[in-house]
């Protein structure tokens, strides 16, 4: 069955809402002369399971549903939401929202079905892709196999979660768009102890898929192995160095550099308002000519992928930086209209209860020509950072941080000692100008990223090949 009818059945029909009711709400919204309006219906079912201390300790199931109505006039936005999908409640919400404009008019809207043109994930419900007992068996197997790997393992904590989300968005022209979005995630945390020293590490992944994603190719067991490997490395880690030095970032998840250093600064809202360190710099050099960076919502099954964004716009592969030159920004409808460009399909919202804004999807750097070993070999003294925890950026000053969770010293072209995690800090507009080598080993992350902006969290992806940066500040303790 097509997506629109599935979405109607999941959200509108159980609430007793007919197409005619949706037309009434939209007509009410448009009874003020607004520039744009939308109604966003969402129903999302989430489950999670936690195994800890060798037992299935927790399980939870949650249902979140509601609708948000929005009217936009110029730079002004009126917004209201409710968990109650009921006609009188939504008409009242529409009344409150259209008050952003004070004159009135009379408008009738007719709904217009649209069809998605691309599908980057299956519509199946991931929560039903395994029977409950199979989910439990998966957790138990990962637990027992992981515990067997090393005698120094003290605790293994495994979580498994899945989301089945249906959205239906109605725009002011009456067009209706729908999407059904699966998302699964698994994580293994390991605590190891040796001679009284305790360390931990985590590894996980997931994507817009179902639970079989973790079973095919034994990914679940790989997460356990990788968490153990990293935790044991941390047992050996020495004080991290402090100061400015050459830094080589490994492939994959270290691409969080791109997300923090330039990604947020290239979101349309900050650039329309002129509050970003990248404002007004399209066409200028912001990276070495080795760097081409894209934001791509169209990758099959990736955590950050979307067939349509939360405003009903199909996602794209948007070139942000091409051979070092800033090409463009990521846009939602409101900021695109105000800047006289088109939406790039980056309008995203955490849920019906929050306003959409320009957000990243999967942000990554395209591969270069260097062999990763060559890159390491070229460094006399520096840091090799292989894995990271989170990051943060001040988009106005351009300063960004990201925290290494697995790192090594490079001495005379060789990776030598493991060092403790440390925060790296740099300046977004110039860090990529210091990229002097780009590897041929592009990897995307395993599907663990969540990005926060204005209190809203959305799933995202990052990726990059191995890259060398000639000078980044490493925040260790060894001065």
């Amino acid at each position: 069955m097509e997506l629109l009818n599935l979405a109607r059945q999941a959200i509108l029909i159980p609430a007793g809402i007919q197409d005619g009711d949706v037309e009434k709400i939209m007509s009410r919204l448009l009874s003020s002369p607004v520039d744009a309006a939308d109604i966003y219906f969402q129903s999302s079912h989430t489950e999670s399971w936690v195994m800890e201390g060798g037992i299935i300790k927790e399980g939870s199931y949650s249902i979140e549903q509601g609708a948000g109505v929005r009217a936009v006039s110029g730079e002004k936005t009126g917004f209201a939401y409710s968990d109650r999908i009921e006609l009188p409640v939504l008409l009242e919400a529409a009344n409150n929202v259209k008050a952003i404009v004070r004159q009135g008019q009379d408008v009738q809207v007719g709904l217009l079905n649209t069809k998605n043109t691309a599908f980057y994930y299956p519509v199946a419900n991931p929560l039903k892709s395994l029977a409950e007992q199979q989910k439990i068996d998966l957790l138990r197997r990962v637990d027992s196999e992981t515990r067997k790997l090393d005698g120094r393992i003290e605790e293994v904590i495994i979580s498994l979660s899945g989301v089945h989300e249906t959205i239906l968005v109605v725009n002011q022209d009456g067009s209706l768009a729908a999407d059904i979005r699966p998302l699964v995630r698994m994580n293994v945390t390991v605590i190891v102890v040796e001679n009284g020293r305790r360390e931990q590490a985590s590894m996980g992944g997931g994507g817009r898929s179902d639970y079989n994603y973790f079973i095919d190719q034994n990914l679940a067991l790989e997460y356990g192995k990788e968490a153990v490997r990293q935790a044991l490395v941390n047992l050996e880690a020495e004080e991290a160095p402090a100061g400015n030095m050459t830094v080589v970032l490994g492939p994959g998840w270290p691409g969080i550099l791109l997300h923090e250093a330039i990604g947020h600064g290239l979101e349309g809202d900050f650039n329309r308002k002129g509050t970003s360190a990248f404002s007004g710099r399209v066409g200028e050099r912001v990276a070495s000519d080795l760097c081409t960076v894209v934001d791509d919502g169209t990758l099959q099954g990736r955590r950050g992928s979307l067939s349509i964004d939360d405003e009903g716009t199909p996602t794209e592969k948007t070139v942000l930086i091409e051979n070092g030159i800033l090409k463009g920004y990521m846009q939602d409808k409101l900021n695109a209209r105000l800047m006289g460009v088109r939406s790039t399909g980056n309008g995203r919202r955490e849920s019906y209860a929050s306003l959409p804004m320009p957000r990243m999807t999967n942000t990554y750097m395209l591969p270069g020509s260097h062999n990763p070993e060559e890159i390491i070999k070229s460094v006399k003294k520096g840091l090799y950072a292989k894995n990271f925890a989170g990051g943060q950026v001040d988009i106005t000053s351009g300063k960004f941080v990201f925290s290494a969770s697995e790192a090594y010293l490079i001495e005379n072209g060789k990776i030598t000692r493991a060092i403790k995690g440390a925060t790296l800090i740099g300046n977004g507009p110039d860090v990529l100008t210091k990229v002097s080598m780009v590897g041929n080993d592009l990897e995307l992350d395993s599907g663990v990223g969540s990005c926060g902006k204005d209190g809203q969290s959305v799933p995202v992806g990052v990726g990059q090949p191995t890259i060398k940066i000639d000078g980044l500040t490493v925040g260790g303790t060894s001065v």
Binding site: E52, I55, I56, K57, E58, G59, S60, Y61, I63, Q65, G66, E75, K76, F79, A80, Y81, S82, D83, A93, N96, A99, I100, E132, Q133, I136, E155, I191, R198, E199, A242, G243, N244, K273, G274, T275, A353, L355, A389, G390, Q392, V393, D394, T396, S397, K399, F402, S403, G421, A422, T423, L424, I425, G426, N427, T473, V474, G475, G476, T477, V479
Partner: protein, 443 residues
């Protein structure tokens, strides 16, 4: 003043949930329900930018079949949805394991006294008045100085919520609380240097909010003072955490003595009870019954009575921070901290902010921290920072693009002084905190 009618309506729903759980065979259950309403208005460049009406609700239930547990939640409060939610929780409990530590709190720990904590003060501000207030706040910032070049706007937020919780031991209580805030964020520019900063005020009662013009002015001053920041050379020096970020240091400490991290042995303060963690002059305590305060509540997330108690005195750790489950895992009793600490307070010394700068003498004043960079298991600490370089007790120039690093165990033990410049805006009440020595990484 309490919103009794709404509380009773929600109590009935919670009781229905608990009854339904019993009908479906649960041996014990607990449930919580929240209903929230609010308004957020923001203005930018002298005109209204967004008007947001909030209306949310949610309920959650946890059921026990002897020692097996299942949880479920929903935003749909219809009778059919309640039944389904309870069924979902019960179905999960068929698959979770027997856990000898799982279960409701001991009955004698549940709250039995419910003093009026003065938390409910509806503002009743109209949308138009909220717009006017936001514009007044932003105008004060934009007109403060010609170098204030741009704005992210000012916003007014008012929020009222009712929360009810109950369990199958007969506990069923609720309260209504309000929270209002006013904030402003502006940019300053001088040549190539562009900086942004903000200020805000938050209170249970709108009468206690800082004046809009003061908030705007402070936001402007804070953005201006950051202009033309420099980095520092890599070094070690004393670090003064300004009051508004010092709370993070105490929150990391609380994380390390929280039951969940202790029983998982993922804390740098394992087995630290009754040992010296801080210097002798430090006392840290909880004040959950403080009238009108942001963190106040008579009971915790499980219905256990909250109580005022010392967590640290004479620098010695006197109590962990425990929920029922983590307490049982450790062979102890709940400290009424399911959901965290409430109005955590540190005794301050005699020095005000200027006095603290003098005490710092030459070193780094940190006013902003970036990133996570705190490892509670090992105590390793490394974060991005911005602030000011201080010499002879005088601020010299702004600094940015540096990191500060150390180990929390040493940092807590080597606190030199706590200022009396207390920031009352959050759940952690502290003045500025001076740490004897940390590693600074820069150019």
């Amino acid at each position: 003043m309490q919103n009794q009618e709404e509380i009773n309506r929600l109590k009935n729903i919670v009781q229905d949930l608990l009854d339904e759980a019993k009908r479906q065979g649960a041996s014990a259950s607990e449930a919580g329900l929240s209903q929230e309403n609010g308004l957020t208005v923001s203005a930018r460049l002298g005109d209204v930018e967004t008007i947001e009406h909030h209306c949310g609700q949610g309920l959650g239930i946890t059921v026990y079949f002897d020692q097996r547990k299942g949880s479920a939640s929903t935003t749909d409060l219809s009778p059919e949805s309640i039944k389904e939610t309870v069924s979902a929780a019960c179905s999960i409990a068929r698959y979770t394991s027997e856990d000898e530590f799982a279960g409701l709190p001991e009955k004698d720990l549940l709250a039995t006294e419910f003093p009026d904590l003065d938390l409910n003060h509806p503002w009743g501000i109209s949308v138009d008045d909220a717009i006017a207030l936001a514009i007044e706040c932003e105008d004060a910032a934009r007109n403060f100085d010609s170098e204030i070049s741009n704005s992210e706007g000012a916003s007014v937020n008012t929020h009222q919520g009712t929360h009810v919780m109950g369990n199958s031991l007969g506990f069923l209580h609720g309260y209504t609380s309000t929270r209002h805030s006013l904030s402003c964020s502006v940019l300053a520019q001088r040549g190539e240097s562009m900086q942004r900063d903000y200020w805000y005020s938050v209170a249970r009662n709108a009468l206690n909010l800082e004046a809009a013009s003061e908030i705007g002015k402070k936001a402007a001053q804070r953005a201006l003072r950051r202009l033309e920041g420099r980095t520092l050379s890599t070094r070690q020096c004393p670090v003064l955490y300004s009051a508004e970020i010092a709370s993070g240091l105490l929150s990391s400490f609380i994380g390390a003595i929280s039951g969940g991290n202790l029983y998982r042995k993922s804390s740098f303060l394992l087995d630290a009870l009754d040992t010296q963690i801080f210097p002798e002059f430090i006392r840290i305590y909880e004040q959950p019954h403080l009238k009108g305060a942001l963190g106040s509540a008579a009971f915790d997330g499980e219905g256990v009575a909250t109580k005022s108690h010392d967590i640290v005195s004479e620098g010695i750790l006197r109590s962990y921070v425990l929920s029922t489950y983590s307490a049982r895992k450790l062979g102890l009793h709940s400290t009424g901290n399911a959901g965290g600490v409430r109005n955590l307070t540190i005794d301050t010394g005699a020095l005000d902010f200027q006095g603290m700068l003098k005490q710092l003498d030459t070193g780094l004043l940190v006013t902003e921290l970036m990133g996570q960079g705190v490892n509670i298991l090992t105590g390793d600490y490394s974060r991005g920072a911005a602030g000011f370089w201080v010499e002879n007790g005088q601020i010299q120039y702004p600094v940015e693009e540096i990191t500060i690093a150390g180990n929390l165990k040493d940092m807590l033990r080597n606190i030199v002084a706590v200022g009396n410049d207390i920031d009352y805006r959050g759940n952690v009440r502290t003045g500025s905190i001076l740490v004897e020595r940390m590693s600074i990484a820069g150019e």
